[in-house]
């Protein structure tokens, strides 16, 4: 399963907001839409760290990496390639 699809499934099943559209695209704004709230942000970080064995440093917890599925996927792939 490609990383974008896995992320979308995770957000749909684990997201805490009730305004998650059924079929949002990979550039859909996860921050402005409110999907990424405080609790879900930490859950998402922990999930990505465990699933892909990457690590978020303090400086990585910034909006640009969480803006969309594509942004999250790009961060994860960069981390994986950087290893």
């Amino acid at each position: 399963m490609e990383i974008q699809e896995a992320l979308r499934n995770y957000i749909i099943t684990e997201g805490l907001q009730d305004n998650i559209p059924a079929d949002f695209d990979d550039d859909y704004d996860l921050i402005d839409s409110g999907i990424i709230d405080s609790l879900f942000m930490m859950n998402l970080v922990t999930h990505l760290e465990q699933q892909y064995r990457i690590e978020f440093g303090m400086n990585d917890l910034i909006p640009k990496h969480f803006k969309s599925i594509n942004a999250l996927a790009a961060f994860a792939i960069n981390q994986l390639h950087g290893k």
Partner: protein
Amino acid sequence: MNQAKLNLAECFFHKAEQQPEHPLILGQETANSTSYAEFRAEIQALAQQLKAAGIKLGDNIGIHYPSGGHYIAFVYAVWVCNACVTPLPLELTPAEKQQIFEYVHMDAVISHTRMMAQVSANTQGESIPLLHQAIFTKAKSFCTPPAELANVNPAFIRFTSGTTGNAKGVVLSHEAIYERIHAANNVLNISEQDRILWLLSMDYHFAVSIVAYLTFGASIILPKNSFGITLLNAANNHKATFIYGSPTHYMLMVQDDTGVELPNSLRVAIVTTTALSADAADAFHQRFKRVLNETYGIIELGLPAINISQARDKQGSVGKITPDYELRLEMIDGHEYGEITVRSKGMLDAYYSPWRSRETILAEQGGWFHTGDLGKLDADGFLYIVGRSKEMISVGGMKFFPEEVETILEKHPAIAEAAVFSAKDRQWGEPAQAHLVLTTGVECPSDHELRSYCKQYLATHKVPSRFIWVEQLAYTASGKKIRNPNKLHHLN
């Protein structure tokens, strides 16, 4: 004649009567605001729905709902019905939630519709829709409430997994919470002039904080998310006077590189949930030229010490003992520190299961509550914590005990023994790591397999980030597990 029992919802209504137009809930943007009168109307509408659904005096209601304004309204609406609240933290797994139902009798659950499936095994009968995408359902009975509970006017039963694997609910009455918020406010002086930037989970933080803000007439700012820039913008948009957060939240503000400052209106920035490292405190001071203020918070006691000093030489202290609390250090021979013991009016009313009343707890401990933590006082009366008896781990402000994770790990057939500890080597959280001893003659499972196994029983933030196989764990002479990883010998 029976005297009417104290109800914290009445304290809020009294304040709403005094300042109906004053803002109570402030959203991320300045235009987003709910007044005291509007919030009172919301609570009353919810209470009407709950009464119609069958909530009655003495019931205990599980709250399974995201933190925020509606969460507060649900808690207060339950109190209006003279019922009690047990938080069911959303991030827990269904198995962990099941455990709460097994230990704490609940009559019904208020759940967000979207998360209802996670508790539906513990509910029965018709689901009644409430406001704000919530539903109300009767709970299945797994245990009977202790007979003594009805005598203490309970407001909250907070489930804790305990430090020995034995679960204990902490029972807090309206009176105990009232005492502890007034005790804390002798130091914090929260008033209608305050706008508090709120950053924590209400499942774990409510009784000395949120209740105090509503009772003393303050406004609560609820930011949209936890990115540093979001928190700084929310603080500036509403001219925050007070921040209540975990070290993680402050570090998220520190790492922001946009140059946005904290507002000049800010008078106190409280750190709670876990000890603040000197590095984190220094980084915050370097970025914002302000001191972070640590507190000593214990669910059984409230806030017995609060550091509001802006002096840098008091950094690292949890402050002076709060005036309504008494502190006694039981000194340890040959050391300058001792065990922290405390007594106060706002102590817990009881442990729920097995029931142990405040009087019993104090009688067993010579009239003082023994925290198990070690502390020392400086010449100015500032308390410093030098050792914590409970090896609690905190990830983003969500706390858990290593024993809870070890119990799950040790049920895995390949694991003979487990020691879980906090990896304090990074700034924004303390993910758990585990030292594991392999069961003789069993093949070593992969990390992936162990992670999947843990996720069945443990909330995501409790699942260890690393599994490290060792030949043996270390124990003290008295048989206590030593979780300090430096004392172990790795297989490789």
